[in-house]
């Protein structure tokens, strides 16, 4: 019907024809190679069952669920404040960003709005978790295709960002800092200046990554033209975040569907790349990390003074209704569809995670690629297992 099934069909027919041709001469049956569940490239427990013809992938089928924790069910037996502690653990690398859409959805139902100071600090922490998350990707992508050093740089510099997050929230990975109606606490003294110097360091880190990987001819040879996802396919699969923007689709929820954070009050831009290949995805994320440091710098300059909590009752009961709020998380569009019945806890929560959609394109994009490219594509799609399995 669309380009998708055409391509699927052609690949299938070609594979069958190749099989038939070879089988006449000698029996070289396809080999099934399980990449994962325990495999360095799947950072987590994702399994990709590949049917290989030589080193070429005929069919790749991701199999997951090894980490399925049933968060949608668990949320149903918890109160709203208890849910945020769970939600932290979905995309554990950018966990503050996970809380925000959930809290915003609950706030929308309660018709509460956080005071401006809380929104600015939320935006800063959101962008900090984006930097922490993407910094790890920038290094990890190197290790996926064999460069050992970038990932150590990434861990080194990500730690600085995590320290800043920890100084405010008390948690490196699981901040649990967002509250319905505002934030748990205000920022401590001296934090703004520290964060500014960390942002300078992060820009140096981005430059290093540019020299180490982006400019490296071997890296380009490995990534350019590998795993090309055209824009219409990306949209159909619901890809989001840098994966979508690397396919030339100019869509960023921070700009296009700002649910009420401070992004529209500062000057920044959305980066896109027309190629849609692994290199484009890396490049877009690199630029986004840089952009995020600039966003944080601007936000730090203009934090409004005032309270950090709106007036909300002590025991939070969310009025009956439904709301879907999604934000542009480090990995892409993360949204929560909350159905409330006026109870202490949500009646049903549907968690729309970016990695789930991002990784669902794998069977399409991995037809006919080589085994090393499987790793490149997996790395460049950038998923977090907790974000797929929830």
């Amino acid at each position: 019907m669309t380009a998708t099934s055409d391509r699927e069909q052609m690949a299938y027919v070609a594979a069958q024809a190749a099989d038939a041709r070879i089988n006449v001469e000698l029996d070289t049956g396809d080999m099934t190679l399980n990449i994962g569940p325990q495999h360095p490239a799947t950072h987590g427990t994702l399994r990709i069952a590949c049917r290989l013809d030589g080193e070429q992938v005929v069919v790749a089928e991701p199999i997951m669920g090894y980490m399925h924790r049933g968060y949608e069910k668990l949320c149903e037996v918890r109160t709203y404040p208890q849910c945020t502690t769970l939600i932290n653990r979905i995309d554990w690398l950018g966990s503050f960003a996970n809380e925000v859409p959930f809290i915003l959805a609950a706030e929308r139902l309660m018709e509460v709005e956080a005071p401006p100071r809380a929104q600015w600090i939320r935006t800063i922490l959101f962008e900090l978790s984006r930097i922490a998350n993407l910094a790890l990707f920038l290094g990890d992508m190197g290790v996926q295709i064999g460069a050992l050093t970038p990932v150590f740089f990434a861990f080194r510099d990500r730690e600085r960002v995590l320290n800043q997050i920890e100084e405010v929230t008390g948690g490196r990975f699981h901040p649990n800092f967002d509250r319905i109606g505002g934030l748990k606490d205000d920022i401590p003294k001296g934090w703004i200046d520290e964060t500014r110097s960390v942002m300078t360091k992060m820009r140096t880190f981005c430059d290093e990554m540019e020299d180490l990987l982006v400019g490296n001819e071997i890296f380009q040879a490995r990534c350019r033209g590998v795993g090309v996802i055209p824009g219409d396919v990306a949209v159909g699969y619901g890809l989001s975040g840098a994966n979508l923007r690397a396919s030339g689709i100019d869509w960023d929820l921070r700009r296009d569907a700002n649910p009420g954070l401070a992004w529209d009050q500062i000057d920044w831009r959305v980066w896109t790349h027309p190629d849609g290949d692994s290199f484009a995805r890396y490049w877009v994320r690199l630029q986004e990390t840089r952009e995020a440091t600039r966003i944080v710098d601007q936000l730090l300059d203009g934090i409004p003074s005032g309270p950090i909590m709106a007036k909300v009752p002590r025991i939070i009961k969310v009025p009956a209704g439904e709301a879907y709020v999604s934000t542009e998380n480090p990995l892409g569009e993360m949204g929560y569809y909350i159905v409330s019945k006026g109870d202490l806890g949500p009646f049903r929560v549907k968690i729309r995670t970016p990695s789930f959609n991002n990784i669902s394109v794998v069977p399409w994009v991995m037809k006919g690629v080589y085994v090393p490219d499987v790793i490149t594509i997996l790395g460049s799609l950038y998923f977090i297992l907790g974000d797929i399995d929830r």
């Binding site: 996926q144 050093t149 071997i218 040879a221 090393p372």
Partner: protein, 342 residues
């Protein structure tokens, strides 16, 4: 050729054998400690091992002891005999390489007339071991790794040999001692104080040799047979304990040997400017000079290893056949022309 000590043949052989047996673990010890542990750590803003012994220098010994203590495991489906033999074959190829490496006028295990030819021949033996390991492990990753290794090592054997041919043509000998001598006595446009290290006249060959050696040693950017993130270790994925240790030793022992070959063929080997090539003192000083040169070359090998990502198998083959081999052939032709003209 004067001898350092006049010893009966068997005593001399025993000493040389003992030395060779001690040297290989020692070389991997040095390389691993200096480069894998310390240099890599510094390049990544860390300290590396620093608890075991002074500055962590005994770390590898501790790890070797740990490896020796481990249970000897075979995969259930493995072809046991081949599985056990593979690391030995790989290590044997490394040992054989050391036979011809000279460290002084007489400090060589066996001064073969066809030293270069011999070295190239035995170094490719390791392919056999790797292929055996890959096949016998009964593991798909290992099999893929083994096949990749075979394809890669065969592809890079050719540029390696062709690069060496330039040196051989210029030195007019296949004997490694002869090549050192040729560099020591050679002169560049009448200036002979530092001899004529072939890196100056054979720079292209040197580059090709180093790239091919990098591939031959399966170091990044050519480490597809091991490829931790794709093949989870490739051909040695099923090996643990002392069998893995053998692979590990062979890897670094071979790296040392290839650095030594490069030092002999391109950097003037053990000769020190100002000494006579047959001076007995060089038997004492030569090993030190060699070690310094070897470490210099190994530094580059490992520097590249820690910095670059890895290529894909087809890109590597393309690079070998379409770039390196034509270049190496051109180098031989040029060397031949210059040889005739001058």
């Amino acid at each position: 050729m004067t001898s350092l000590l006049a010893l009966p043949y068997w005593q001399e052989t025993a000493i040389k054998l003992g030395l060779a047996l001690a040297v290989i673990p020692a070389t991997s010890l040095i390389l691993v400690y200096l480069f894998l542990f310390k240099m890599m750590a510094f390049m990544q803003s860390r300290l590396g091992p620093n608890d075991t012994g002074p500055y962590g220098s005994l770390q590898l010994i501790a790890e070797a002891i740990k490896f020796l203590q481990k249970e000897d495991i075979h995969p259930a489906q493995a072809d046991r005999r081949v599985f056990r033999m593979a690391p030995v074959v790989v290590l044997a190829s490394t040992f054989l390489l050391y036979v011809v490496l000279p460290a002084g006028p007489d400090a060589v295990v066996q001064n073969l007339d066809t030293g270069v030819f011999y070295a190239m021949a035995v170094s490719s033996l390791s392919v056999l071991g790797i292929l055996m390991a890959g096949w016998a492990s009964a593991n798909k990753y290992a099999l893929l790794g083994g096949l990749r290794a075979a394809g890669q090592l065969i592809a890079y054997e050719l540029p390696l040999i062709l690069a060496v041919m330039g040196v051989v043509v210029q030195a007019e000998t296949l004997n490694l001692q002869g090549i050192v001598e040729a560099q020591a006595t050679g002169e560049i446009f009448g200036f002979g104080a530092i001899g004529n290290p072939f890196i100056l006249t054979q720079f292209l060959a040197f580059l090709i040799f180093m790239i091919a050696a990098q591939a031959e040693l399966t170091q990044t950017p050519f480490d597809m047979p091991v490829a931790e993130t794709e093949l989870v270790g490739g051909f040695h994925v099923e090996y643990t304990g002392f069998r893995f240790l053998l692979f590990f030793m062979a890897e670094f022992g071979t790296a040392f040997a290839f650095s030594a070959l490069a030092a002999v063929m391109f950097l003037g080997g053990w000769w020190i400017p100002g000494f006579d090539v047959h001076d007995n003192v060089l038997n004492i000083l030569g090993p030190g000079v060699m070690l310094a040169k070897i470490l210099l070359i190994a530094f580059f090998i490992f520097w590249i290893r820690f910095t670059y990502p890895r290529l894909r198998e087809d890109q590597l083959q393309k690079f070998a056949w379409k770039v390196l081999i034509p270049l190496a052939l051109a180098n031989i032709v040029l060397t031949g022309i210059f040889k005739v003209v001058f």
